[in-house]
């Protein structure tokens, strides 16, 4: 694998150049919330974050997205699609969120039905990852085979070592970017820093506080839909706020509705939706296949730990810890995984 070095002092120059040459999306801090936004230069970026409050999944599946505009005059019906995505660089993505994007890929880039809105952004975006420098108390990416310095899925991975970034080139797309800004990416001394990165990865992997073990969890959920465990406290505590689904980097459910701007003109919008809401499955005739929080909570965790695996051979959780941190009633997926493991052991 090829690698380069970027001096920390030169990062602002790189970000300014990227912002000028294409759309640059990077972490920013708005009041107390860290999230990803298009920025105009290095001065807007907030790189001292541990994990953003809102994941960068919106770069590919925006919270609100126009799928087309329509004009109906009675005689004619005109449908206009938005233009495809611009060249974009997504900078500063943490390894768990990169993995989350690779978890979304099979949903939107499936063999049978792709999604041109997603694919257009995905193809036109270079993902620059940023290794973690710290492990938080809510982190558990290691449980799914990830790690604080794991660049799988990124085009380039930046790892901060002293006053330099060690840059791993993971794809041709990443290589092209490095070549374009070759005056910033130096290849001298990269080999020496490789060792530093390994040491950092090693050090961080020992810092996880949360013990999460998936052994036997999938097996206990297979063919055990009516597991008595789901009658327990989790759904009773849930207030159905939907926060877990909005902050989750792998949750991809969406709604589609019309935003009318005139009598027969308007935009068709797709926006994030949440399986925690009763309306999500409620049919016009009044029937609801998941009528209570019990079914909805079960569905969410079954989706993460079983359904996504069944369909795409990937766990639907990456261990970012956002739902653990943000749930107002402390429903904790790591506790659920460990509880299920216990159920499996006692079975």
């Amino acid at each position: 694998m090829e690698a380069r070095i970027v001096n920390k002092g030169q990062l602002p120059e790189l970000l300014d150049k990227l912002a000028k040459d294409c759309d640059l999306i990077a972490p920013v801090k708005e009041e107390t919330t860290t999230l990803f936004r298009k920025i105009s230069g290095a001065k807007d970026a907030f790189l001292e974050y541990n994990n953003s409050d809102i994941s960068p999944k919106g770069c590919f599946l925006p919270q609100n997205e126009k799928t087309f505009s329509y004009t109906y005059t009675g005689d004619s019906l005109e449908i206009v699609k938005p233009e495809g995505a611009k060249k974009t660089v997504l900078f500063g993505t943490r390894p768990c969120d990169i993995k989350a994007i690779t978890t979304l890929d099979p949903v939107f880039e499936g063999v049978k039905f792709g999604d041109e809105y997603y694919s257009s952004k995905r193809e036109n975006t270079v993902i620059i990852g940023l290794s973690c420098s710290k492990v938080l108390s809510t982190c558990f990416c290691y449980a799914f085979g990830g790690g604080p310095c794991d660049g799988t899925g990124s085009d380039l991975l930046f790892t901060e070592i002293g006053d330099k970034y060690y840059v791993e080139i993971n794809t041709d797309k990443g290589k092209a970017l490095v070549d374009t800004y070759s005056q910033i990416f130096s290849s001298q001394g990269a080999d020496q820093l490789a060792k530093g990165k390994e040491e950092l990865a090693q050090k961080l992997s020992g810092e996880f506080i949360r013990k999460v073990d998936l052994t036997g969890v999938k097996e206990v959920l297979d063919g055990n839909f009516e597991l008595p465990y789901w009658d327990g406290d989790n759904y009773k505590k849930c207030i159905g706020c939907g926060t877990c689904t909005y902050v989750c980097p792998t949750c991809h459910c969406f709604d589609i509705f019309d935003y009318t701007t005139g009598d027969f003109t308007g935009d068709r919008i797709r926006c994030w939706d949440s399986c925690m809401y009763p309306e999500y499955t409620l049919m016009a005739g009044g029937h609801n296949p998941r009528p209570t929080r019990k079914e909805r909570v079960r569905n969410r965790f079954m989706h993460k730990l079983k359904y996504h695996l069944d369909r795409y051979d990937m766990v639907g959780c990456v261990g970012c810890g956002r739902c653990v941190k943000k749930c107002p009633v402390n429903i904790d997926i790591t506790k659920i995984i460990n509880d299920l493991k216990e159920v499996a052991q006692n079975a």
């Binding site: 109906y72 019309d258 049919m283 016009a284």
Partner: protein, 280 residues
């Protein structure tokens, strides 16, 4: 074939509207783009997303068989916001359609077999595409006897009356059984529920597929009857309904366990359903 990766519908023009009941209408539509119409390629049992601009989209099954001509029929019950607006539309007006989506009735596997259809109320609509496919001039020889047992609350609530009382009985080797829950001055036929009538007609499971669609309560009571008659789970085929937004297996809500009704369904055999969570 229309672009399967976009969420954009294709404009259609309404060419005919039939009032089936007080709250059910059948819309016949043709794509404005003849090429789309020609290559739409829908199979019996598939569904479409109907776009009513200003209201959004709704999943509706295609009730016409592709063998009947270059048009689509959608039988729509007035039940929510979108269908309310759709019901106000007139011949010549336009809405949008994208599809076809989902799987289809196993009409290849059904070849050489007799077909026994059981329908309740408005739910004759999704299985009518297969009835007309099997009864088409083109494919009639591929299937054995076609029997249709259909009931609704009253005579006024029976859908597809001209099919039931004129078109289908006139075709060779068919039998039509109709029943209503409540009789009236305009009904001289049988009065009673569908499951009881199935028991009375007592179709033999020999070399036969049963295709059932109806309200959950009808299905609940009809299935034990079918079982008693000797129908195996693999011989009983049904079609499910779920709330859907994309119909492409992405928006999430129509899952039953790991299956998405929009892409893995809506057609399932009873054997398949038994292997899935009872969450529909």
């Amino acid at each position: 074939m229309p672009n399967p990766t976009a969420l954009t519908p294709y404009p259609v023009t309404i060419t005919k509207i039939v009032d089936e009941t007080s709250d059910v209408k059948t819309f016949t539509v043709v794509f404005d783009d003849p090429e789309i119409m020609e290559n739409f390629g829908n199979k019996p049992g598939q569904v479409c997303m109907l776009s009513v601009f200003g209201e959004g989209e709704s999943t509706i099954s295609i009730t016409s068989s592709p063998t009947r001509g270059k048009f689509l029929e959608f039988t729509v019950k007035r039940v929510g916001r979108l269908t309310e607006v759709l019901h106000q539309m007139e011949v010549g007006q336009k809405f949008g359609v994208r599809g076809p989506y989902g799987n289809w009735f196993p009409y290849e596997i059904m070849k050489g077999k007799d077909l026994f259809f059981v329908g309740g109320g408005f739910a004759l609509a999704p299985i009518r595409s297969l009835i007309d496919y099997a009864l088409s001039d083109q494919y009639r020889k591929d299937y054995g006897r076609v029997e249709i047992l259909y009931g609704s609350r009253s005579y006024d609530d029976l859908c597809f009356k001209s099919d039931l009382f004129e078109r289908w009985p006139s075709l060779s080797n068919t039998a039509i059984y109709t029943t209503v829950d409540r009789g009236g001055d305009n009904w001289k036929g049988r009065v009673g529920h569908v499951p009881g009538y199935v028991e009375e007609v007592a179709p033999s499971p020999e070399n036969k597929f049963a295709i059932i669609a109806g309200p959950p309560i009808m299905i609940k009571f009809a299935l034990p009857v079918m079982e008693k008659l000797g129908f195996k789970d693999e011989q009983i085929i049904t079609t499910l309904e779920m709330r859907m937004k994309c119909c492409l297996g992405k928006c999430g809500r129509c899952n039953i366990g790991s299956k998405f009704v929009c892409v893995d369904g809506p057609v399932f055999s009873r054997a398949q359903l038994k292997g899935m969570p009872q969450e529909y």
